[in-house]
Symmetry: C2
Subunit: 343 residues, 2 copies
């Protein structure tokens, strides 16, 4: 591999000049620039990224730390982030923690060791271990942006989230407006109890609020509590809900994958969808469009989330805006075929 020295020798200039040409600095005579450019081409010189990263003590890599990357939601989010970053010249180190705190810590360490310029994170916990990690990052001068989750302290870091309360509210209103009065809600254990201000809880809060606001005679039945929002779980608790509560006319699942599970169990129990039951999901992942009937859902602007998270981080990294920024995006009802007026 040709180095900058070779180019300098070949073009009869100093390495400083070559560096200036490569990095497109001013103060290089056009003639010289041309000679150097030719030398670079002739030698097939490519700057050693490792060396320049080392010298400047920063790589053009940003870390993206998500919980899982197998899920449709995470995939779509990661994809949006990667694309935006790519266009801006950054490369993405994508890591999935699988909810494993140790692994999350290990990745964070690696990222620091690699001197990533910034990190986009969807943390696995809200605990103080996390808070400590964030402050470590801050000390190290690494830009941080949260996505799909707010930091505990609003000024700790930027974040991009959706208004899950409003989303829950919208979904419930949709069902109520369609005439549904006996509605099942499939939501995780934490969400139902409404402990932390996490995504799920917010949605349930919105659901409750809508019910309280809009009508007096709606009856909400919650599914059995559970921990992970997977298709399998949706199928199980969905089946249980449907068989134990024969009067339900609609089910609102707080995740598309849960909704898919519910839909599957409804089919299996012989229900004719959407005639016998309306089903509403949440997320708007691609999978929700492939079911039969297609799933009505509260769609998150996933692509936009990723994009804004990326641009926010870029702004921080470039020092354009240093104060944390809290972005809240709106969810929108995607009315498809799985929800109909109650007959």
């Amino acid at each position: 591999m040709a180095t900058i020295k070779d180019v300098a020798r070949h073009a009869n200039v100093s390495i400083a000049t070559v560096s200036r040409v490569v990095n497109d600095y001013r103060h290089v005579r056009p003639a010289v620039r041309e000679v150097v450019t030719k030398a670079i081409a002739e030698l097939g010189y490519r700057p050693n990224g490792l060396a320049s990263s080392f010298r400047t003590q920063q790589s053009n890599i940003v870390g993206v730390l998500l919980r899982q990357q197998r899920t449709p939601f995470s995939s779509a989010l990661a994809y949006a982030i990667e694309n935006t970053m790519f266009d801006q010249g950054y490369r993405v180190l994508l890591c999935s923690t699988n909810g494993d705190a140790e692994r999350e810590a290990a990745y964070l360490e690696t990222m620091l060791d690699m001197r990533v310029q910034g990190i986009i994170i969807r943390p696995s916990g809200t605990g103080q271990r996390m808070a400590k990690q964030i402050s470590t990052l801050r000390d190290r001068g690494v830009a941080v942006a949260f996505v799909d989750m707010k930091p505990r302290l609003a000024n700790a870091a930027s974040s991009v989230v959706c208004d899950n309360f409003s989303g829950g509210y919208q979904g419930m209103r949709h069902l109520i407006e369609l005439g549904h009065r006996r509605i099942g809600v499939v939501a995780g254990a934490v969400a139902q109890k409404g402990g932390a201000a996490d995504v799920g809880s917010e949605r349930v809060r919105g659901i409750r609020q809508a019910a309280a606001d809009l009508t007096s005679d709606v009856e909400i039945t919650y599914s059995a509590p559970f921990d992970s929002a997977s298709f399998e779980v949706g199928r199980e608790v969905g089946a249980a809900l449907i068989t134990s509560q024969p009067g339900l006319t609609a089910i609102f699942a707080t995740t598309d994958m849960l909704a898919l599970g519910v839909m599957h169990s409804a089919h299996a129990l012989g229900l004719d969808l959407p005639r016998d039951m309306s089903i509403l999901g949440y997320d708007g992942v691609m999978e929700s469009a492939v079911t039969f009937p297609t799933l009505s859902t509260i769609a998150q602007p996933i692509h936009e989330m990723g994009q804004i998270a990326a641009t926010t981080l870029i702004d921080h990294m470039r020092g354009l805006s240093t104060t944390p920024r809290q972005v809240v995006l709106e969810n929108t009802l995607l009315q498809r075929d799985s929800t109909i007026r109650v007959t």
Copy 2:
């Protein structure tokens, strides 16, 4: 940030000794090792990854270049690779080209500039531009492994693929054994014509061979040709196929997402699945398990593919095995609810 110098001073040894402790070399007296370790802990020293990568001229990063990462197949593959790499201490730079050749080239350049140790690639084209790129990689001493696609010349690089011919064969045999004789096949334009030895063509070849081998009275109808194997496309060509060929008892789609589309259109046309029509997919992605009825499919061992690609690459990077290795994995029929004996 404390540097190795600080540690050396603090522990009253030379930086060489600290380096030896950090990198766990022999020839360090236990007593000294302990002192140094303590100094490291006290100062919170962490080796500067950029510096050591620079010095050794290699990072612990491997590049993974896939076509798309939004698709279930790619996601699952990427996930498997990342996990395996993580366990072995490597970090993954995940890039999706979206089939854009320029972007692919750009990523490849970046990877080289970053001095990645190895690259796992699912190239977007079979052209000679690719061949040239591969030889460039080879010249640069970067280990390469193909996944889900063989290199043109078997000894150009290692590869991990599935036996798509056999998979197509198995699928067709399955349908024939179930008594189906009028079978629709949904496959892309290239696959039908059987040009290159790409994944789709191989599957179709297997389908043809099975039909020829196993029975004389099977009648295959191909869908209209198309370019991208998406759900949307599956729905469109599926609908066209079903309406134009009323006698079909089964449809074999060469991709799960296509199959999902076909299933959707069948539902929409009022067919009762699987009674009125059997549908068979290919890939075994998670999505195939969430339909109703659950999709029978020729499952690829996606996780294994990723894992083997990763370990193969690691072997190359570590110099354990230098000769290219061609791994061919078997697909297996995943018999679920969407295929039944013809009545």
